[in-house]
């Protein structure tokens, strides 16, 4: 078994990109997983001050960390991983590709177990059929992702630039031309004259 981490800092998570860059900067000093654990231990505490504090706690070279945290090449790598993830249909986080088989969101252990066991079986069958161990991952990815396998292999494994996925066109909504008569009864809360020339009817909830 192996686990590989790829970034998808969502745009509406304002600290996600700085955090991704900081983790990669820590990774350049061999401390990615330690830094990763610190951030997941205090997700709400992710901010510029804590990103520096955690790096200090891990004993990182702070000058190199500060420089790498602003590295355009690292940012490009992160953005490419993000594009590849979208191209593979994984827009949210977390998302998992188990030998290419997708599992989206925070899922219970049993779901992982089922897929992992099925993949182990398939991998053993491939090896028994003559596939070299080094090729098993590619073979299973091609089997699980079919047409999208090249995006996975080129972008997530090979590090080549992933093409941006085309944005789905919103379907035009049919226009409802029904004319509704809104009655204002005595039991409706009302402010103002019942015979006012202009009446505003407000629909609302309280949250």
């Amino acid at each position: 078994m192996a686990v590989v981490f790829k970034h998808n800092p969502l745009g509406f998570h304002k600290q996600a990109m700085p955090a991704a860059l900081a983790s990669m900067a820590a990774g350049k000093q061999g401390k990615f997983w330690e830094y990763h654990d610190k951030m997941f231990a205090d997700q709400k505490g992710i901010n510029p001050a804590n990103l520096t504090k955690w790096a200090t706690e891990l004993g990182l070279d702070m000058a190199a960390f500060a420089k790498d945290s602003k590295d355009g090449a690292l940012r490009k790598q992160i953005e490419n991983e993000q594009r590849a993830s979208v191209a593979l249909g994984q827009r949210g986080t977390p998302a998992f590709l188990i030998n290419g088989k997708a599992l989206s969101g925070a899922q219970p252990f049993d779901k992982f177990k089922t897929i992992i066991e099925a993949e182990l079986k398939a991998a053993d069958a491939a090896i028994a059929g003559g596939t070299p161990l080094a090729q098993v991952h590619n073979v299973r990815v091609r089997a699980n992702l079919a047409a999208k396998a090249s995006v996975y292999i080129d972008s997530l494994i090979g590090g080549k630039l992933a093409k941006a996925a085309p944005k789905p066109k919103p379907k035009p909504r049919p226009v409802d031309r029904t004319v509704w008569k809104v009655t204002v009864d005595d039991h409706n809360p009302i402010k103002g004259n019942k015979d006012a020339l202009v009446t505003i009817v407000e629909w609302s909830d309280y949250q």
Binding site: F40, Q43, Q90, I116, D124
Partner: protein, 136 residues
């Protein structure tokens, strides 16, 4: 009166013959020029195509020279064609810019990975989970 008409008619016929003769000469010259230019252009194209290949390059140069000479012969007494052929002989053989080295080509479309993605477990694992996430 009749004599005058006869003279005018004679002059008219002479003018027509003169014009026809001029037209015929210029057409022949144009055709010769065109033939010569086509052959020169063909030789240049062949030379360009063969320039990258060392063995074929010599043949191309020979072809250029031969056809340039042929152009001069075909043009005969045409000084413009002779000048063109002479200019072609002086012109260096066209060369194709050498293709960039393999390493440079690889760099252009090469790997984006500055840092190898963080991994736990062997490269040859039977099952690899790729976790795509942010930290927030």
């Amino acid at each position: 009166m009749k004599k005058e008409n006869f003279v005018i008619g004679l002059i008219g016929v002479a003018v027509v013959f003169f014009l026809l003769g001029r037209f015929s000469i210029s057409t022949t010259e144009k055709r010769k020029k065109a033939d010569s230019s086509d052959e020169i252009a063909k030789a240049q194209t062949d030379a360009k195509e063969n320039a990258g290949d060392g063995a074929k390059k010599d043949e191309a140069e020979e072809a250029t020279g031969a056809v340039a000479g042929k152009g001069a012969v075909a043009a005969g007494a045409n000084p413009a064609a002779n000048l063109k052929a002479a200019a072609l002989e002086k012109r260096p053989t066209p060369t194709v810019a050498p293709s960039p080295p393999a390493a440079a080509r690889k760099g252009a479309g090469g790997s984006l990975n500055v840092v190898v993605s963080p991994r736990k477990g062997p490269e040859t694992a039977k099952v690899t989970i790729i976790e795509i996430s942010d930290f927030q």
